[in-house]
């Protein structure tokens, strides 16, 4: 068997292994998941104080909506404070924030630009709340989200952070619909990772932390502009449990152009690669459990796999083009369309059937994720553009992130 086939089978085996791992976890915890999913709004025994920090940098158009969504949270007003930090914006963010300067629940601050992590840390330094959350100024929270998340902390006192389910807010074009499919699938993946105790990112939009987290392991770091990922790595290193509350929904704005999406994902992947390099000491260490044996290796494998597949695809595409040019130069350009199609020539190698099974499992995860996110079933049709768009453009940002890491070209900017 040639090397290329061995490599391809290895990649497909590992990708399948990850999907099977998730699926086995799903069937193990199905009853529990159903119970969680059908749970009514919890009645909290007590209401701890919560501070929500909103770091805002040039968010003049969205900061007002974000603050309003937080003020609409179903939570006692005397137990919830909002700390809005203008991180040196150059637009009208501060003017928008000034509308709340006399609001009893809202405290506004202005500081020099220092990056998102400095704005969040500024907020942490200025609160005494029991629980701290942050919300990007481009996201909106469902009114019952906080109650549901605090309920997780009260039911499981060992939990130190809870991540919500992210939903794409009002998608308008095919790119955003494709992202909605991706986010729904992430809800499934995150729920399964939570069961495995192996979550590797506490998303910027509305993850909630116990105050002790920052006392024990310190505050946010720059961490290649992916501070929400780095703090999750640090929490895993210190055995601080991260859970996921899939019924707590946070609606986030997503990039509406390929260029913006590319920039965002380049930052995420670059962050993943470099945080994983920084925390390589955690890989394959029994004491770090599934995070060490499943989450990190599967992420590394997926990057290696995409790199290999991209080059293999490019190589085969070049060979195909050369072959076609040779054929046309000899036979001439045939404009006649031949509708003849013979099923015989469909590829029926083992890899074809396994790929079909693999894709079926991915689609299964999207369907379950969509159900968990309580999204319309109709969006499942967007699986097709999702698979098409991501197959084409995801390798580009991934390869660029690898390239930037190798050449030390510098970390991608926020925007």
């Amino acid at each position: 068997m040639p090397f290329s086939e061995i490599a391809m089978y290895t990649i497909v085996f590992l990708a399948l292994y990850v999907q099977v791992f998730f699926m086995v976890t799903f069937f193990e915890r199905r009853k529990h998941l159903n119970k969680l999913h059908d749970e009514d709004l919890p009645v909290l025994t007590e209401f701890p104080t919560v501070a929500v920090i909103v770091p805002a940098w040039n968010e003049g158009t969205t900061v007002h909506g974000t603050i309003e969504s937080l003020l609409n949270l179903d939570y006692p007003k005397d137990k919830l404070e909002l700390i809005v930090v203008d991180d040196g914006s150059t637009d009208d963010t501060w003017q928008e924030m000034l509308r709340y300067k006399d609001h009893p629940q809202v405290r506004i601050f202005q500081k020099e630009n220092g990056g998102k992590h400095t704005a969040v840390n500024f907020g942490i330094d200025n609160t005494k709340a029991d629980f701290i959350s942050c919300l990007d100024a481009d996201s909106f929270v469902a009114p019952d989200a906080l109650k549901r998340m605090i309920n997780v902390f009260q039911k499981k006192p060992e939990t130190m952070a809870v991540a919500p389910s992210l939903i794409v807010n009002k998608p308008k074009n095919i790119l955003q619909y494709a992202q909605r499919v991706e986010y729904n699938m992430s809800t499934y993946n995150k729920r399964m990772l939570a069961y495995l105790g192996a979550i590797h990112v506490t998303p910027g939009p509305f993850s909630v932390y116990r105050k002790e987290v920052f006392q024990k392991i310190g505050k946010f770091r720059k961490a290649h502009n992916t501070e929400d990922q780095e703090i999750a790595y640090r929490m895993q290193e210190h055995h601080l449990k991260i859970d996921h509350c899939h019924t707590a929904y946070v609606f986030t704005s997503t990039p509406n152009t390929v260029k913006k999406l590319y920039k965002q994902r380049l930052r995420w992947i670059y962050g993943f690669i470099n945080n994983t390099i920084d925390y390589r000491r955690l890989i394959f260490k029994t004491k770090y459990g599934n995070f060490s044996f499943f989450t990190l290796p599967s992420g590394i494998i997926s990057i290696i796999a995409v790199c290999y597949l991209s080059f293999a695809l490019l190589y085969n595409f070049i060979l195909f083009i050369i072959k076609k040019i040779t054929e046309i130069s000899i036979k001439g350009f045939d404009l006649t369309f031949s509708p003849h199609f013979d099923l015989f020539f469909i590829n029926t190698k083992t890899i074809f059937f396994i790929s079909v099974i693999l894709y079926s499992m991915v689609i299964f995860s999207i369907i379950v994720g969509t159900k968990l996110s309580k999204q319309s079933k109709a969006i499942n049709w967007h699986i097709v553009p999702y698979l098409l768009i991501y197959s084409v453009i995801a390798p580009i940002w991934l390869l660029k992130a690898v390239w930037n890491t190798i050449t030390k070209a510098g970390q991608p900017k926020w925007r």
Binding site: F13, L16, V20, V24, T326, I330, F344, F345, I351, I354
Partner: protein, 223 residues
């Protein structure tokens, strides 16, 4: 499941899925091979039928005979065998198919030649000896040239032979036409040429009656 038990269980399930994929692939590929076998059997029957008709030549007109010879599927089957060779791991089966196909081609050639002689017809044939991609870098190009010729001259009969096939028929052809190990090699109406040949170069080797029938007819008329 706790700890590494789960990792092992997932490994077994993944292996199981691979086994299912392998089984499905083998099942469908065997079906495809059987499909080729069926076509080959049909061609064999067609040739046998034509041979029988040839034996009864006195009772048949040349028109009836030439119409009955050769299954049209003999040209398409080559593509299927070639595709199966590239995609299936079942080398022995593919080699057997290629051997059967080679014999059918030679039988087809011999029968066509005998009928042409009896009916006073002229046939134009090209034998094309090719090798694997490693042994013959220009065979892919030569294949396109022959496709182009076949499309241009429907009366031209092209037979393809794998030079390295372990078959006495191939060895006999190599010996008759003095084919050396310099591939691609072509035998155009009995004349052997080696190395890659373009459409124009091959047209020079073909009779004018085939490549330029109108001019030939005009010349004959003017004489």
């Amino acid at each position: 499941m706790k700890g590494f038990q789960k990792y092992f269980f997932v490994f077994l399930v993944t292996c199981g899925i691979f086994a299912v994929g392998w089984y499905l692939s083998s099942y469908v590929n065997n079906k495809k091979i059987n499909q080729i076998k069926d076509i080959q059997n049909k061609i064999a029957i067609d040739i046998l039928s034509s041979e029988t008709q040839f034996s009864l030549l006195e009772e048949l007109s040349c028109q009836d005979l030439s119409n009955s010879v050769l299954s049209k599927e003999i040209a398409t089957i080559a593509d299927k065998i070639s595709y199966t060779e590239q995609t299936t791991g079942n080398r022995d089966e593919v080699e057997l198919l290629k051997k059967q196909y080679t014999i059918l081609q030679v039988k087809d050639f011999l029968l066509t030649k005998r009928i042409a002689e009896r009916c006073k017809q002229k046939i134009n044939t090209v034998f094309y000896f090719y090798g694997s991609k490693d042994a013959c870098s220009e065979c892919v190009k030569q294949g396109y040239v022959l496709d182009a010729l076949r499309e241009k001259y429907s009366a031209l009969r092209v037979y393809s032979f794998d030079y390295n096939l372990d078959l006495s028929t191939i060895k006999a052809l190599n010996s008759i036409y003095k084919i050396q190990n310099s591939l691609p090699s072509l035998v155009v109406n009995g004349k052997t040429v080696s190395g890659f040949k373009t459409v124009e170069e091959l047209e020079m080797l073909l009779p004018k009656e085939l490549t330029n029938p109108q001019k030939t007819v005009t010349k004959k008329t003017s004489n």
